[in-house]
Subunit: 254 residues, 2 copies
DNA sequence: CGCTTCTTTGATTCAACTCAATGGATGTGG
DNA sequence: CCACATCCATTGAGTTGAATCAAAGAAGCG
């Protein structure tokens, strides 16, 4: 392991939920000023984490949740033979690390896809103060519950959908998440590689690449490297739902 | 909808965690006598639920967690077109319904695979008393966290494993769960249909059937209808991990 | 500028699916 | 008790969507 692979040292940078523009999306949602302040005492910020650096690894001693403040994060698990399975991608306002509680260690790993900052909340602390703040406990349950629902849907997509439907669903999902953050729903940058997309969706990199080409040929998207423009959202939506007439190749021009 | 499809009316049968033989596996794990009693006040039991009857549906008004006391339960979601995706199977001591919290309704449905009894805990009540009992809050977080880890692993199996590896993993997982309940790890009954197994694992019923036949031909299992005997657990384990030499057909005899 | 990493594209293969038919078990009503 | 229907499972034949194998182009980096 070279230096660039070392785990971030979370310095004692004070975070500040009270003034954070993501508070409505994030953990402190629904808290009053007084409780928000309590939360501020246990939440720590991070220095910028460079692309490719780990936020945590499964064998870390330090158990915590992490809220993405800026940038993006990929979370993955490894099987016995070291094969990687990406579990999810996380953007600002989203929280990761809920898996850690059961076995008192993270069962997964988290790595920054670009320069990223996060806030961290040690597991014991959240346990403590969410017992004192009912709304926080509620929000914790909600967030974990949402995480479960998300995985359920992912399972359905992977088990029941074609490669084309999976990729369209992925692109549309990213679009809506970026939109919620106030960015364009039509144009965004993919922070992850084709490899990562394929791994997440249960496809090979070649299939992902071919599908991007096909979507572009059919006028659904414009893609250039990692810059993506969704040119025909209605059709992309219909592909997600399995009505993919226009997704099909009618390339009589070929 | 005919009468047999009506949702169970959860009568006010008092449950009794204090005397339940599943308490070490279930929600009350780690609670002292006094707190166990508090829990007893909010947990209700059910009359037996017949095979094929729903325990809850997504559109139920009644939001609760359910702990399986006897029998078995299948949990599934439906997509827009009504297609079913099974999310999990649940056995005694296991808890379902964690998905309900976020959107204030269950995003999934639960149906009894055989005559089943469950205990139910309304969501507001658990919220209330887990704020009072730190160990219970902790146990809730743990159970949800475990659920997430389970789904992560399922995702890996479905995305990265062959049909053969998936089925072997499924059979071995059931074996270990039954074993924890004090039953044989080598012989058990499958409470679900081939269809259900296939749906869960992302395979067709024909593929599942062919694999059962193949495993039997290779001496790994004995299967008769839904009665299963795992004759060669070591080899089954090695198939799970992708070292499936003996799983391969060397049927020179054919 | 050479090296590596990422992506695209083409040719070919194969694991699992689809379609089709049969068999066994269970249930129902005459 | 049998005839018939239904449901579930098995087995076979043929197809196909995505994987694998292979090669080359484009971009990033020290």
């Amino acid at each position: 392991m070279d230096k660039s692979e070392q785990i971030i040292d979370f310095s004692k940078i004070k975070a500040n939920c009270s003034n954070c523009n993501l508070q409505e999306l994030c953990l402190p949602r629904g808290l009053n000023a007084k409780n928000m302040e309590k939360l501020d005492h246990v939440v720590k910020g991070s220095r910028p984490i460079q692309k490719g650096q780990h936020i945590f690894r499964g064998d870390d001693g330090f158990l915590a949740f992490y809220a993405v403040r800026s940038g993006s994060v990929k979370v993955y698990i490894l099987d016995e033979s070291g094969e990687e399975q990406i579990i999810g991608f996380y953007f600002p306002g989203e929280i990761l690390g809920f898996d850690a509680i059961e076995e008192h260690k993270h069962s997964c790993h988290a790595i920054a896809l670009e320069t990223t900052t996060v806030c961290s909340i040690p597991y014991e602390k959240i346990n403590e103060i969410s017992a004192q703040i009912p709304q926080l406990q509620d929000q914790m349950f909600r967030l974990m519950s949402r995480e479960l629902s998300k995985e359920n849907k992912l399972l359905l997509i992977i088990n029941k959908r074609s490669a084309e439907e999976r990729l369209a669903t992925f692109l549309v999902s990213l679009s809506s998440r970026f939109h919620k953050l106030g960015y364009s729903a039509k144009e965004y940058n993919l922070p992850m590689s084709r490899q990562d997309i394929g791994n997440y969706l249960g496809l090979t990199i070649e299939t992902v690449s071919r599908l991007f080409t096909k979507f572009q040929r059919n006028g659904l998207i414009d893609i250039n490297k990692r810059t993506l423009c969704l040119k025909d959202l209605p059709t992309l939506h219909s592909i997600c739902n399995g009505f993919s007439e226009k997704g099909k190749d009618n390339n009589s021009a070929a």
